[in-house]
């Protein structure tokens, strides 16, 4: 909105310094209590018997396999959800059809459904007590309590992240540029690659990062379908809970620390992106 510049400069924050300071202080205090205190407690518990004990607990075979499984699930889920998210956003932003509003609501569904319910519905659908599950069992295909269900549950829970990031931008950008490209004779794929993708790439990356963070941290839905087989179907969050229940606090909190560090890496990447490409982001994003 370039016309904003034409208005004479006036300070919008007219509150006294004291009020401003107080507000900032309250926010910092809340962040301290809600974020830093728990995080510090996690790392303090992890290191309560020294860095060595903490690192050693991470070399337990079942802990290593939990890390491996979580990374693998994220590696499967995130690209899938990126593609699905682009497809959904594309359909919603570039085409007019009946039931569009319903589709947008449906995309948000995983946000409002409790993850435990999502997991349970998978068990109901493909568990041994269902006819579909019985068919799978008869053909020796393992869905529930194995990798497929863990992937499906994570896929469900993390589905909205990419689509939610893309839809507002793609709607805002409209379809004029794509139409121009098509008029000039570009193929559909080329239009997508050279026109659409560059326009949405930062939002896409943003969505992918959020999706990744959630995929690695998901507990509720995965806990229901995992079967908790050590070294096989235990993801990191589930392993953390198991270790804690077995009174292995150092191992539990060390693994929780690794999860927190992975989240921090994601956040750092996100901040780095925002800092490096602030101008592009400002041009393509409003929120």
């Amino acid at each position: 909105m370039p016309d904003v510049i034409l208005v004479p400069h006036r300070d919008v924050t007219t509150e006294p310094r004291l009020v401003r300071g107080l507000l900032v202080g309250v926010v910092l205090l809340l962040i301290g209590i809600l974020l830093f205190a728990p995080l510090a407690a996690v790392f303090a518990s992890a290191l309560s018997e020294g860095l060595r004990a903490s690192l050693e607990s991470l070399t337990l075979p079942e802990v290593r396999s939990a890390i491996r499984l979580t990374l693998m699930v994220a590696a499967i889920v995130v690209p899938l959800n990126a593609v699905l998210g682009i497809a959904a956003a594309w359909a919603i932003a570039k085409f007019d059809f009946r039931g569009k509003a319903v589709l947008i609501t449906l995309i948000d569904l995983p946000f409002s459904v409790s993850p435990v319910v999502a997991g349970l519905s998978l068990v109901l659908l493909a568990g041994a007590q269902s006819s579909l599950g019985a068919w799978f069992a008869a053909h020796d295909i393992r869905i529930v309590f194995a990798l497929p269900a863990i992937v499906l549950a994570t896929l469900f829970v993390t589905f909205p992240f990419v689509a939610r990031e893309l839809i507002p931008i793609m709607i805002e950008q409209g379809r004029a540029e794509e139409e121009a490209a098509l008029t000039l004779g570009a193929s559909g794929w080329r239009t997508f690659r050279t026109v659409t993708l560059p326009n949405i790439r930062w939002a896409l990356l943003y969505g992918v990062l959020l999706c990744n963070a959630r995929a690695m941290g998901e507990f509720g839905a995965v806990a229901v379908v995992s079967g908790k087989i050590r070294g096989e179907t235990t993801t990191m969050p589930i392993m953390v809970e198991m270790l804690y229940n077995e009174y292995l606090s150092v191992a539990a909190f060390s693994l929780a620390g690794v999860l927190a560090l992975l989240a921090l890496v994601t956040l750092t990447l996100k901040s780095l992106l925002e800092w490096r490409h602030a101008d592009v982001l400002a041009a393509t994003r409003r929120h």
């Binding site: 693998m72 053909h139 020796d140 529930v144 990798l147 087989i229 050590r230 096989e232 077995e246």
Partner: protein
């Protein structure tokens, strides 16, 4: 033992498809945790409950060694741990357990009833009601026992706060309730009015009824609420080992319950004769002197003490333990005591 051949699955079918899938999964994943289905390598999955992790880690090693010493091929035991009720539910929903080693007979019976993968008479297929190790209900009190709690009678005193989970939701809490009831039965020579008055007073002293045993332990140990926690003996020792010996004391009452965490073969999930033989041996070997000694080492009470370390035996003092059959078995106890309008509801509404 294990004569119920009608529960066996069809021999092997669809091996190739299974292998393709296994290979697919193994290819991407889990590097090495899904071993190729070689002819002689047997795999069994033991679905167990939370506090048994250390015991089964040691026992699985013991069993694997003994198994190959018998001239068998290698055996891999996979472990799954969680809350006992939830684990039973997972097996019902298709978790591929070869054997289940849970906290309560009711959980295994639920699998038998709902799926038919375990025969109804499972508890008579192994000695001692299919419970290779047992435990009991004891008191965990604060260091030095400041309230001077010695036996069940002290828990009804006005100055004592008792922590125990809700018997409506927690299997472990039902054992706690029955242990108090058992003591009262002995103490008051079966005078039911006095027994009721006693448990009523005891539950008046419970400030919060947590939904599960782990929550109750947290309330007592981490939040510092209450003077005494009713707990399974093996879990009390685990809490002691974790929290430090100088945080709590364990008090063993004069009378308690014989808590029997049972084990069973899940016949319906067995895929091959080799797996069946290994899974049966896995359960039977739990009764060997060496395995019994391991159970004692991990704070369970075992039947055979011939190979046990003296210090493991010394920390488990004798007490009189009534069995659930003294009260008619869980089938009768469950509705009479914990069902809607049962004894627990009655004493609670009277309060």
């Amino acid at each position: 033992m294990f004569r119920n051949d009608q529960y066996r699955r069809q021999p092997q079918r669809g091996v190739s498809r299974r292998n393709v899938l296994a290979a697919l999964a193994a290819g991407v994943t889990l590097a090495g945790s899904l071993p190729a289905a070689a002819q002689d390598a047997v795999e069994i999955l033991n679905v167990s409950y939370d506090p048994t992790r250390e015991f089964y880690r040691d026992y699985n090693a013991l069993f694997a060694e003994w198994w190959s010493a018998q001239g068998h091929g290698p055996v891999t035991v996979r472990q799954s741990h969680g809350g006992s009720g939830g684990q039973a539910r997972a097996v019902i929903d298709g978790l591929d357990a070869s054997v289940v080693t849970l906290a309560l007979a009711a959980d295994i019976s639920a699998i038998a009833e709902r799926t038919g993968r375990i025969p109804e008479d499972w508890q008579s297929r192994l000695p001692h009601n299919a419970a290779p190790y047992t435990s009991t209900i004891v008191f965990l009190v604060r260091e030095g026992n400041p309230k001077g709690i010695a036996d069940w009678g002290d828990l009804a005193r006005d100055d004592v706060e008792v922590i125990t989970p809700n018997p409506k939701t927690s299997g472990g809490a039902r054992w706690n309730f029955m242990a108090a009831w058992a003591w009262a039965q002995v103490e008051f020579a079966g005078d039911e009015a006095k027994m009721r008055a006693y448990v009523s007073e005891l539950y008046l002293n419970v400030p919060v009824l947590d939904t599960g045993a782990r929550g109750a332990t947290n309330t007592f140990a981490q939040r510092g609420i209450g003077d005494v926690l009713l707990a399974w003996e093996n879990e009390a020792f685990l809490a002691l080992a974790e929290q430090g010996e100088d945080a709590f004391d364990i008090i063993v009452p004069s009378v308690s319950m014989l808590a029997e965490p049972p084990v069973a073969l899940v016949d319906g999930n067995i895929r091959s004769d080799a797996q069946r033989v290994a899974a049966e041996a896995f359960l039977e070997h739990l009764y060997s002197p060496e395995a019994q000694a391991l159970a004692l080492k991990h704070y369970y009470r075992a039947w055979d003490t011939s190979a046990a370390a003296p210090e493991d035996l010394a920390r488990l003092p004798d007490l009189r333990r009534l069995t659930i059959d003294d009260f008619g078995g869980w089938n009768q106890v469950q509705p009479a005591f914990f069902g809607d309008g049962g004894l627990f509801d009655q004493i609670y509404s009277e309060q």
